[in-house]
Amino acid sequence: MTKLAPAPPMAPPTPPARRRLRRPSGLALVTWVYIAWSLVPVLLAIRFAFNEGRSRTSGQGFSLRWFWTDPTLSVRNDPTLWSALEHSLVLAGLAMLIATPLGTALAIGLQRWRGRGSGVTNILTLLPLVTPELVFAVGLFLLFTSLFGFIGLGTTAQVIGHVTFSISWVVLIVRGRLVMIGRDVEEAAADLGAPPWHVMRRVLLPLLAPAIAAATLSVFALSIDDFVVAQYMASGADTTTVPMRIYASARAAPTPALNALVTIMLALTLLALVLAWLAYKRLSRGQEAGLTTFAAGGTK
């Protein structure tokens, strides 16, 4: 899919005093039914992960066998499942390490770039966001099997693919914060005698830190959930990620171990969300920061 990551910038909510008094219960019903339809299937899938029997379609007792106790089929003991889990995390980690600095630098650089070509480079930065994922994956695949054949397919190719589309998201998130911060604080610091590097390190980057935290989290989520790019860049069994494993096994009568794998991934994503939220709160002491700002990607 074209990379569709967390929420776009949201306008501030209208104050309650101006709202209509009439409450359409029909719309409320539709909304809650939608929410249920949207989330209950996943909740059920999680429930089946704790089944004692082999059923993936109905509840059968409660057991952790599919997570780690079953000697051959559990996530812990089945090499295909466990290596998929490890590989997904490795890719996400590398993508975060590379995409965040690259994207942040790009955002800052673009903001400061006033010369020729700034319009074109802006468009170049946004292009990965509007390109369908299949097109991008095909391009990378053909590239890495010809001109860039020295890189070839495999983990490196997968990381490169993930970083490439993540950079655009990092730029989008960081740039929003940059615009909000504005030039005043930097110029004040410079006027007070701080050399440019000091201004960057001790004024700009700390102010940007919350957005960088939100951007890092986005890269993690994008990488963990990516399927098409990872599949096209894969080179064999040991470059399989969790989404690839799901795709390969979902129609082949899998055991609830696959559900367990999904549950673990969701738990890890939740953990990442919580960590990022805590980092965000801590880094934005003294600045404007709330749940809606965080959810909107550190911009507002």
Binding site: P24, G109, L134, F227, Q231
Partner: protein, 298 residues
């Protein structure tokens, strides 16, 4: 402050190398040739371009060609999925943006954003559990005779919800992408000033009239943006038919490209098809690019 412009260079170099060149690789292979063992030979130099595969791809996609049926089917599935997504998403976005308040609103927003954090494939996988012949959804749908309804319209054939059924693919697309439509819709509807609606009411409009003449027109741009946002990935989707149906009967154009490029001897044709698909989607992509740049400016 100008001196920091150079910071952009590593990122731009990366994007140039791994995005622009990657796209040009599709062009080079699509206009290239193929060895005796069916390995593609990219023609990087435009003067060397061989139009053979592009013409073949064009021939396939035009009426009467090998892939014309698939293309039509893709248009049908995407069209139905977009219509359904809008029908579901707009009321939800409207309710949450204009009628929900306080704590409820925050809870609703968190729940609406939740699917973003769950992998698309995991959400589809959840449905394979439910639509299996013994699954809760299959049993419920059969009990409610909804299966007969779909059979009457020709979207369901037989008993197996997961076996080559168009309705499963269409509903899969809707389930997968509607969360990505609701948030832009929410943003567009939330932006509308309540005072405009109140003014309309003060001037004598009924609630429905105020909706029709104030809210609907003002939300048009945002709605269009949201539709384009989900239409783009739908056109390249191949994993939803693979997971929800597994049959060539419901193959979409993404499947054709995927089979050609990853499957084997048709990589040049696959590249050519990808180029044509990109051309077709170019209009949508440019429109969405404009929306993004406009949003950044506000």
């Amino acid at each position: 402050m100008r001196r920091w412009g150079w910071l952009a260079t590593p990122g731009l170099a990366w994007l140039a190398a791994f995005f622009l060149v990657a796209f040009y690789a599709i062009v080079a292979v699509g206009f290239g040739n193929v060895t005796d063992v069916y390995e593609p030979v990219p023609h990087w130099n435009p003067l060397d371009w061989n139009v053979g595969y592009m013409l073949q791809a064009l021939d396939d996609l035009l009426p009467g060609g090998r892939s014309w049926g698939v293309f039509l089917r893709t248009l049908l599935y995407v069209g139905l999925a977009l219509a359904l997504s809008l029908a579901i998403g707009y009321p939800v976005a409207y309710y949450v943006s204009r009628h929900a308040r306080g704590r409820t609103k925050v809870v609703l927003l968190v729940l609406l954003v939740a699917p973003f954090w769950i992998s698309y494939l995991m959400r589809m996988f959840a449905w394979t559990n439910l639509l299996d012949s013994q699954g809760y959804a299959a049993q419920a749908l059969n009990a409610l005779s909804i299966d007969s309804l779909f059979r009457a319209v020709g979207l369901l054939d037989g008993d197996d919800w997961l076996g080559g059924q168009p309705i499963a693919v269409i509903l899969g697309l809707v389930y997968g992408y509607v969360p990505y439509l609701i948030l832009p819709l929410y943003a567009a509807l939330d932006r509308i000033d309540q005072r405009l609606i109140e003014a309309a009411r003060d001037l004598g409009a009924s609630p429905a009239g105020a909706f029709r003449r104030v809210v609907l027109p003002l939300s048009k741009a945002g709605t269009l943006g949201g539709i384009v946002l989900i239409a783009l990935p739908m056109f390249g989707d191949y994993y939803t038919p693979d997971l929800m149906s597994g049959s060539p009967r419901t193959a979409m154009i993404g499947n054709t490209i995927n089979n050609a490029v990853q499957g084997g001897p048709d990589k040049a044709l696959g590249a050519a098809l990808t180029l044509l698909l990109s051309l077709f989607l170019l209009v949508f992509m440019l429109y969405y690019l404009r929306v993004l740049r406009r949003e950044e400016g506000t």
